[in-house]
């Protein structure tokens, strides 16, 4: 066995041990704050694990979501829990049913995995048709051309999730701004961080979308980074979240799915729904990616900000 293979095995074993311990600790740790921190840490290990599996696109998404969004979401949610709301987790019928369902799904997935035909996969089919897809990154080619149907529905699912969150708003608060009104010491560390980082975050987010054409990256990864940057700017008190009734906000939320649908419908002329003619595939993919990035960024940020809470009038 070569030294490289030995080092690879050692690395993978340690990574697996850390992943499992972080996951178990997140489930078992009380108080809640420790569990949240373990979950954040788990995200870092998961991103590394995806890299080891050769899935750089997924690693990018995991890094952006784990570091930028879920940590902020969970810590923000925790801050709002009353001390009284900390109940000891009991084990009743609901928990038992949940456990049975979770074990069932896991077994089902395991069975489905083992029952798969021999791994030939679709790599060869993708590679053979990559030239006509309009993208040099096989993952982008699959997401926006070969299996565009899935991606279209996913972008709509995000929108549906946001509508679900907004539906939690009080009637009186409807049309107001989501989230808290943040303030910071002018010129302080937090206020400065909220002004120094966003331009660089914008650069990285746009770069990831641009890179997605030929290497790992794309609308989702770039959009997640942009969403995180927006949340930071809001937490630093530089800007406030917009009123949920703002027209520009609504337009930006639906722009991606609408453009995607329009391209799909135009594809009917070329043969079938969502067919991208090879001559124009590249331009169409770029158009979809750019508008999707905008919509994904704003939808994710709005999901983390939550339902509108204060119906105060516009300043």
């Amino acid at each position: 066995m070569t030294a490289v293979a030995l080092a690879d095995i050692a690395f993978d074993l340690i990574l697996c041990a850390l992943l499992l311990s972080a996951a178990l600790a997140a489930l078992s740790r009380q108080p809640l704050f420790g569990a949240v921190i373990f979950f954040i840490v788990y995200g870092v290990f998961a991103a590394i694990a995806w890299l080891r599996l050769g899935a750089t696109d997924v690693a990018l998404a995991e890094a952006a979501i784990g570091a930028g969004l879920t940590g902020v979401l969970l810590l923000g949610a925790m801050a709002r829990l009353d001390a009284a709301a900390h109940t000891e987790p009991g084990f009743g019928l609901a928990e038992a049913l949940t456990a049975i369902a979770a074990v069932g799904v896991t077994l089902g997935l395991g069975w489905a995995f083992l029952a798969l035909p021999e791994p030939g996969g679709l790599q060869q089919a993708v590679a053979a048709n990559l030239a006509q897809s309009g993208s040099e990154n096989p993952v982008t080619a699959v997401l926006l051309n070969f299996r565009a149907w899935d991606t279209l529905l996913e972008s709509i699912v995000l929108l549906a999730a946001l509508i679900g969150v907004w539906a939690l708003a009080d009637d009186a608060a409807w049309g107001g701004r989501p989230g808290l009104r943040h303030h910071t010491r002018p010129g302080g560390v937090l206020a400065s961080f909220g002004r120094v980082l966003p331009p660089m975050g914008l650069l990285v987010g746009v770069y990831l979308v641009w890179a997605g054409a030929s290497q790992p990256g794309g609308a989702f990864q770039g959009g997640t980074v942009l969403a995180a940057v927006w949340l930071l700017v809001a937490m630093a008190g530089v800007v406030r979240a917009p009123h949920v009734s703002a027209t520009w906000l609504r337009a930006a939320l639906v722009a991606g799915p609408v453009v995607f649908l329009a391209v799909g419908l135009a594809g009917v002329a070329a043969g079938a729904f969502l067919t991208l003619p090879p001559d124009h595939a590249k331009a169409l993919i770029v158009t979809i990616e750019v508008t999707l990035t905008l919509s994904i960024a704003i939808t994710l940020a709005a999901l983390v900000l939550g339902p509108p809470e204060n119906a105060e009038q516009a300043p």
């Binding site: 001390a83 560390v189 937090l190 961080f193 120094v196 980082l197 660089m200």
Partner: protein
């Protein structure tokens, strides 16, 4: 030719990481642990970036390596300052949290 240098710098970076972890585990209170940690991740990552930069095969990668270190420095400085301040405040007004 640069390879032994890379190996050495990476090793040096690791020493700082391990020292940081050791400090995080061994030092007696929150503030001294903070102090151990922030040096460790700045210098540890700095030496690793320096070592790997010698192996970068184009300017693109080199630029990203420098940017990554810059991001890490800004993040470490900011979070250390904020977390320390928050811990200090919590310590001086322990009843504050119960009464928002």
């Amino acid at each position: 030719m640069t390879e032994p240098l890379t190996a050495m710098l990476v090793g040096l970076g690791l020493v700082f990481f391990l020292a940081g972890t050791l400090g995080l585990i061994r030092l007696p209170d929150t503030f001294s642990r903070l102090h151990a940690l922030t040096k460790a991740d700045n210098l540890g990552l700095g030496f690793i970036v320096l070592g790997l930069a010698l192996q970068a095969d184009d300017w693109n990668v080199l630029g990203k390596l420098v940017l990554i270190w810059a991001f890490a420095l800004i993040a470490a400085g900011t979070s250390a300052q904020l977390v320390a301040r928050s811990a200090l405040r919590r310590k001086s007004t322990p009843s504050e949290r119960q009464a928002p």
